[in-house]
Amino acid sequence: MRVYLGIDIGSVSTNVIAIDENTNVVFARYIRTNGQPINSVKQGLRELSVQALSDGYEVSAVGVTGSGRQMIGLMVGADVVKNEITAHAAATVHFYPDVQTIFEIGGQDSKIIIVKDKIVTDFSMNTVCAAGTGSFLDHQAERLNIPIEQFGDLALTAENTVRIAGRCTVFAESDMIAKQQYGYSKAEIIKGLCDALVRNYLNNLGRGKVLQPPFVFQGGVAANKGIIRAFEEQVGHEIIIPKYFGVMGAIGVALSAKSQVEASGQPTNFKGFDCIELDFVPKSFECSGCSNACEVIKVIINGEVAAMWGDKCGKWSSSV
């Protein structure tokens, strides 16, 4: 069976998925990146290779997205290396062709994508602060000693709301501590946090945009019921959560890889599951050639320098 792979390397999670020719998801893994994107991709591919062997998959295309896309693209031999925004939109439009607004909240960035007639017409991405992202919730859950998986359900049990300053993570945290000292319950504080996160997100990213239903909410944070309810309250409309909300970026890029390979008629660049065994080492150093002091990233595959980037003048990147 022909399958198309999508890999999304994010700051918090690495997602590896495979779709078949009829775009059914046949494999999906959500793996914590833990600052080691290469290992987490290898882990995902290893699990996939086991399933591929038993079910007889033939990989026909690979797409890579997320913040680590350039490096992992090199490692696996990607046919398509796409930015997260396009990838997310591609998946959502595929499952919900009439979608008009996509909310995506990931580990360290969040986006609003505006779609009209299946085409992205506008988007915005957080630039200044991480207050509206998953890492913030993760961190606060840890501080309150609540597993992040129970965070959302606990928020739903709150009877009262408490307003928490959501401008910035640091201020939100100090405000939260103050409210705890005033005697609010954990559930109320968590609900307050969810409200603050959504308020912050809509204020920062939704500014100057007309948000129209249907709304689709995806990204890892869409697992959080408290956030979903806060969204529904604040936009005043029902929110759709896709079945594969956590891996939509990976699905989107797999779809692009599929259409690219089909359009070009060329065989895939995929290096095969053997790439798991490759000795793939990224290294970075500060160039001392001039006072720009660029941080240059060097990728070494099996002892040989395969690619370099990050320099402003091209001294290193053109040397490979």
């Binding site: 930015n83 992205v120 988007f123 945009k209 060329q266």
Partner: protein, 382 residues
């Protein structure tokens, strides 16, 4: 006197002018991380980004012994109007004995303008000053013309880096040019060199064009905008910047009545959205977005320093322009805290958006072949 000036875009013209006037030129360096660090350290925290970079450039020039710094001013609510005086104060506090001469528009205060000319003309006879000014004016015009074409062609370069090398050589050629007669030859040679660079131009319906508007310093000086033009070119997109130093000079020297400059037309196009200029180039930028839309561009990238007042006003008008004319606009603020990954993701997504809107998304066979080439390259390593 030892003269220096801020580094903004292509500075060969300035260098030439001061050399001809008999000054010793302390060549400012293209802003590097050190320049930015120096500038940020010695500037007020919430001042605009260009101020900080110019501050760093001036300090570096003073370290090399500059005695006179020549720069341009600004009027209206834009803070560029206070740059000169504040820079001078900070430089004096740092212990550098340096004079700063600021040129404002010729028409606002003719007396002051001439006064500044006398400060820098260095006993050169007036007629000669005019002759030199004409030569330099013509030179920056030619160089800007070449640069404009380069930013279109670079999107299609076959070997990465060819155009940058070519333009460096062209700059060297102009650097050695001192008379009008030499310049004619230099220009012909430069054009020849530019067109000799191998390019792979796709059919007309696949070409994607992006306009760049925004605050003059961040759109002209590549080191302050993360090399945005090169990034866009690398994504296979032609770029048209609305600001060039020759345009600025023409706009400020030639009276409107005699001017055929596009900047004035853009001014007029901006008036449908606001009744007055709010300082800086906000009126031109508003008009320019309309202009690019009417010329059939696929999108516009709008850049501004973080917290720039005139450009924040432009930004607030952008949704309305997009609604009226249908042109997508990506607005980004630049400052020393900017991260590269974020900019790259937004640019890539924006170009996808523009291509999708104009239906230029299909992959050409050439592109597919290109990716195969890459594959072979990597296969060699494996």
């Amino acid at each position: 006197m030892k003269v220096s000036f801020p580094y903004m875009g292509c500075v060969t013209g300035f260098k030439k002018l001061f050399e001809l006037l008999g000054h010793e030129v302390i060549m400012p360096e293209k802003p590097t991380q050190r320049t930015i660090d120096l500038g940020v350290l010695n500037s007020p925290e919430f001042i605009c980004y260009p101020f900080k970079i110019m501050m760093g450039t001036y300090i570096e020039a003073c370290e090399k012994g500059a005695e006179l710094i020549v720069s341009s001013g600004g009027s209206g609510p834009c803070r560029a109007g206070i740059y000169g005086d504040v820079h001078k104060k900070i430089l004096h506090e740092l212990g550098y004995d340096v004079e700063i001469v600021i040129f404002d528009s010729l028409f606002e205060n003719f007396g002051a303008f001439m006064n500044q000319v006398f400060k820098i003309k260095n006993k050169t006879p007036t007629l000669k000053v005019m002759k030199y000014a004409y030569l330099v004016f013509k030179m920056i015009n030619q160089m800007d013309g070449i640069e404009k074409e380069l930013k279109h062609l670079r999107a299609y370069e076959v070997n990465k880096g060819d155009f940058d090398k070519c333009f460096d050589k062209i700059k060297e050629l102009y650097d050695k040019t001192y008379t009008l007669k030499q310049m004619k030859k230099t220009y012909a040679k430069a054009l020849e060199m530019l067109h000799a660079v191998p390019v792979n131009i796709p059919p007309e319906n696949k070409r994607v064009r992006i306009g760049i508007v925004g605050e003059i310093y961040v759109i002209m000086e590549s080191s302050t905008n993360m090399d945005i033009e090169k990034r866009l070119n690398a994504l296979g997109v032609e770029v048209e910047n609305i600001q060039y130093i020759s345009d600025w000079v023409k706009h400020h020297i030639i009276p409107r009545r005699f001017s055929k400059e596009e900047s004035w037309k853009m001014f007029d196009k901006g008036y449908q959205y606001k009744s007055c200029n709010c300082g800086g180039h906000d009126m031109e930028n508003t008009g320019a977005i309309v202009h690019f839309s009417q010329k059939g561009y696929d999108g516009v990238v709008h850049l501004m320093p973080f917290g720039c007042l005139p450009e924040l006003i432009t930004r607030s008008i952008i949704p309305q322009i997009t609604e009226d004319y249908g042109i997508p606009v990506l607005s980004m603020s630049m400052d020393e805290q900017q991260g590269e990954a974020n900019i790259q993701t937004r640019l890539e997504a924006f170009i996808d958006l523009c291509k999708n809107r104009s239906n230029k998304q299909q992959i050409s066979p050439a592109e597919a072949a290109n990716s195969k080439e890459l594959k072979k390259e990597f296969a060699g390593i494996m």
